[in-house]
Symmetry: C2
Subunit: 250 residues, 2 copies
């Protein structure tokens, strides 16, 4: 066993592998649903709508979830490298999600369907705006060189809480969208245990499982990335500097 | 200021008050929705269905959320009193939720509607079963006198994680049910910004806000209930007993 906190917790790799298996299954089942029951995907036709669920699941669920796991998986790399990977994965997720949003608004425009009336759409816009704000604030605190060590330490727990919340809201929004797509098309046939309905219900449960497993990995205090030698030194300096301060609990 | 960890964190009461305001608003808006647009509530008529959303929101959302906050609110009472209150609130929540479940199954039976075909119903049954299991396991570990201190300490983080997860799943299931009720009744009128649709969307956002605020209060490490003198003594004993053990991280 390696000394100190540098060793990888025994169960962590299995949980990470399971999360990836679940995440890829979610993407595959979304593709299968769209391919088998919705005619597949194309930009310039009535199939344009189908770009929306696929892009949102890849961007806002799978890649966003993986971006949250970066600090648990890359434990020994330089902090800066891990940070950049975390930020980059979120950028890729944002671009793919933006493509999914353009697809649905463009489809609605061509069909003269109204926009933004449903709970799914309200939640979706809220989550996407929060996700952009979280990225910008995260970038300016952690990657932009200006922010002080103390400012970063105070903001970090908030960044983690809101990151996990935005991810869970993304999963919830996906469930609402799935339900909407089912009820619009199947209507009362949904209650006849149509194969599409059952497949979509299974997809919903898989989405929930992916969300729970990612949250479980994030919630284990022992699985956090250990601070490295240079960070520990900085942290000690910071402690020494602020010891006289006695910050009041709030 | 009081000595040690006995003082109440300055911001906590405001967050708890805000959570209660949100929780009561959620219950009131659910009542208003059912009263204004669904004909109100009665057991022996076609209004029996309406018992379901009201009971589930009171039991599985408001009371379950409040039961999770008990350890943040009652900080100076004996641990056992706080535990019993936590367990009792969950029992009341379970009974009210059970009434809501009986209402919907009985209504379906009378109308010869099929059961358990939708994603909402699958999630609902899953959450309710998990909630019962969590209660039983929690009771046997923490209130039944048999479990050892070391067993309790090892189970506690799991109990907290699954408790928060079941609560969040309850919120997600409520959103799916709300969406289902809207789409079944409003159909394409939903896209015309009907007052019922807008009110139900607002209710959805309020449910999400309640979930996020409860989760925020639970997630603040500094807001945890401080261990009291006798618990600290026990904990020290336990540490001394197991120091030679060096439990492997997993």
């Amino acid at each position: 066993m390696e000394p100190g906190g540098a060793s990888v917790p025994a169960a962590l790799p299995y949980y990470v592998a399971f999360s990836q298996l679940l995440g890829l299954t979610v993407v595959a089942v979304t593709g299968a649903w769209l391919g088998l029951y919705r005619g597949g995907i194309a930009w310039d036709s009535s199939l344009q709508f189908n770009v929306h669920p696929l892009c949102m699941v890849i961007g806002m669920i799978f890649l966003q979830g993986d971006a949250l796991l970066v600090y648990r998986v890359f434990r020994k790399e330089a902090k800066r490298t891990t940070k950049i990977l975390h930020g980059l994965l979120h950028v890729v997720a944002l671009i793919i999600a933006l493509l999914g949003l353009v697809a649905v608004f463009d489809y609605h425009r061509k069909k003269s369907y109204p926009d933004l009336y449903s709970l799914h759409s309200w939640c979706g816009i809220l989550v996407f705006v929060l996700y952009c704000v979280q990225w910008l604030v995260g970038f300016s605190f952690f990657l932009f060189p200006g922010a002080s060590f103390s400012l970063r330490s105070r903001y970090r727990p908030q960044h983690i809480f809101y990151g996990a919340t935005i991810f869970l809201l993304s999963v919830g929004t996906a469930l609402l969208g799935l339900k909407e797509a089912l009820l619009f098309k199947l209507g009362t046939k949904y209650s006849k245990f149509e194969p599409e309905g059952v497949l979509a219900n299974v997809l919903g449960l898989l989405l929930i499982c992916f969300g729970v497993v990612v949250l479980y990995i994030l919630a284990q205090a022992d699985w956090k990335r250990p601070s490295q030698a240079e960070e520990q030194a900085l942290s000690m300096d910071f402690k020494t500097l602020t010891e006289g301060d006695s910050p009041s609990p709030q």
